[in-house]
C-alpha cells in the first residue's frame, strides 16, 4: 500500500503530509520546552537574594557549541538544497559535516557535564565551605565512617553566597589551591550534579533534554546519510522531502539552543 501525499501536496492543506506532521510535532515541542523554560523563570525569580548562580558555566565552551550548532543548521539546509539540484555527492558532504558538527557538540557537552560532576562543595563542621574540583580521595576515605581525606583544587569560602557569583571581583581574585579536608571535619559533601541546587537541577534537565534531541536528530540524519540514502536511487523526490523534514527538526533544535545559551550561560 502506498502512503499518500509523500511527494505531492494535499489539495486541502497545500502541503505534503510529512511536512504538516513535523510542524505539528514542533508545535508540541515548543510547549514541552516552554514548560521547562517557565519552570526556570519560576525558580529564578523565586530564588532568595544572592542565591541564584552567575558564571558557573563555561561561556567559551557554550559559545563554541552555539557556533557548531549554527554551522550544522547551515550544512543541513545546504544538504537539502543539494538534493533539490540533484547533486548527491554534495548532499553526502554537507550531511556528513552535519553529523560531525553534532557529535562535536555532544562531546563538548559531555566535557561540561563531567566538569560539574567532579566539582564538589563540602560543608565543614566549622560552618565554612570547601569548594573545588576533586583531585583525589584517600584510599580509606569513607564519609559515613569518618575516615580518610579528600583533596580539592579550589578554595575555602566563609559564606555559601560567596560561591554563587563567580563573576564578582571577590570570586575572580580568589586564589585557587589544593585543599585537603579530613572526613571528620565534613558535615556534608556533594558534587554539582542535578541535586546540588535548583540551578543545577534545571540546567541538567534543560540541557539534558536538548542533548537527547541532538542525539535523536543525529541518529536520523545518520540514517539518511547512510542506509536510508538508497531511496535516492528509487525515489529522489521523496528522499528530498525526508531531508527537508529532518532539517526542520534540526533547525528547531538549534532554535532551542539559541535561547538556552543566553539564559543559562550569560544571565
Amino acid at each position: 500500500m502506498d502512503i499518500p501525499y509523500t511527494i505531492e501536496s494535499r489539495p486541502d492543506t497545500g502541503l505534503y503530509n510529512a511536512k504538516l506532521g513535523i510542524w505539528l510535532f514542533l508545535a508540541s515541542e515548543v510547549m514541552l520546552f516552554g514548560g521547562l523554560f517557565s519552570a526556570y523563570v519560576l525558580l529564578r525569580v523565586g530564588a532568595a537574594p544572592g542565591m541564584w548562580p552567575h558564571g558557573w558555566l563555561n561561556v567559551t565552551l557554550g559559545t563554541i557549541n552555539t557556533l557548531l550548532l549554527a554551522l550544522s543548521a547551515i550544512t543541513t539546509l545546504l544538504a537539502w538544497a543539494a538534493c533539490k539540484v540533484r547533486d548527491f555527492t554534495k548532499f553526502k558532504i554537507f550531511h556528513g559535516c552535519t553529523i560531525l558538527l553534532a557529535l562535536s557538540f555532544l562531546t563538548i557537552k559531555s566535557f561540561e557535564y563531567h566538569d560539574k560532576l567532579i566539582h564538589y562543595e563540602i560543608k565543614l563542621n566549622n560552618g565554612t565551605f570547601a569548594d573545588g574540583h576533586l583531585v583525589e580521595k584517600s584510599p580509606d576515605f569513607d564519609l559515613a565512617k569518618k575516615t580518610g581525606t579528600v583533596t580539592l583544587h579550589g578554595r575555602i569560602a566563609t559564606d555559601e553566597k560567596d560561591l554563587m557569583d563567580l563573576r564578582s571581583p571577590e570570586a575572580k581574585s580568589a586564589k585557587l589551591d589544593e585543599v585537603t579536608v579530613a572526613a571528620t571535619d565534613i558535615k556534608s559533601m556533594g558534587n554539582y550534579g542535578p541535586r546540588h541546587n535548583t540551578f543545577t537541577a534545571i540546567y541538567f534537565t534543560l540541557t539534558g533534554l536538548h542533548a537527547l534531541h541532538i542525539f535523536g536528530g543525529t541518529v536520523v540524519i545518520f540514517y539518511f546519510w547512510g542506509p536510508g540514502s538508497r531511496m535516492w536511487k528509487t525515489d529522489p523526490e521523496r528522499f528530498t522531502n525526508r531531508i527537508e523534514v529532518s532539517g526542520l527538526f534540526w533547525h528547531f533544535v538549534d532554535l532551542v539552543w539559541i535561547f538556552l545559551f543566553p539564559v543559562l550561560y550569560l544571565t
Binding site: 510542524w23 508545535a27 552567575h54 538544497a81 543539494a82
Partner: protein
C-alpha cells in the same frame, strides 16, 4: 508557492548561509558583550537586552533556514495557535508567581 517548492540554486543558498552565519556570529558576540558589560545595577536590563538579541538570532534561523518567511497559510495557523498557548503558559506562570498558599515560607 512556498520557498521549498521554488527552483533552488545551490550557489544562492551558500551565499545566504554565509550571511546568516556572519549575523549569528555578530549577535552571539553582542550577547556575550552585553552579559559582561556594566549596564544598570541589576540583571533585569541585561537579561532583557540579551533575550532581545536572542530573538533576532531566532528570527534569522526560523525565517531563512526554516523558510518561515514564505510558507503556507496552514503552517502560520499552526504557529499562531502555538504562540497563543506558549504565551498563555508563560503568562500563567508569571501571574501565579506571588500566589503562595498561606503559610508558605517566602524569601
Amino acid at each position: 508557492m512556498s520557498e521549498s517548492e521554488k527552483p533552488v540554486s545551490l550557489q544562492s543558498y551558500i551565499r545566504l548561509c554565509g550571511v546568516v552565519f556572519l549575523v549569528v556570529l555578530c549577535t552571539t558576540s553582542a550577547m556575550i558583550a552585553t552579559s559582561f558589560a556594566h549596564i544598570g545595577d541589576g540583571w533585569t536590563l541585561k537579561v532583557a537586552l540579551i533575550l532581545a538579541i536572542a530573538v533576532v538570532n531566532a528570527f534569522l534561523v526560523a525565517g531563512y533556514l526554516m523558510h518561515l518567511l514564505s510558507e503556507k497559510k496552514l503552517i502560520y495557523t499552526v504557529l499562531v495557535f502555538t504562540l497563543f498557548f506558549f504565551i498563555g503558559l508563560m503568562g500563567l506562570t508569571m501571574w501565579a508567581m506571588n500566589d503562595f498558599p498561606t503559610g508558605t515560607a517566602v524569601h
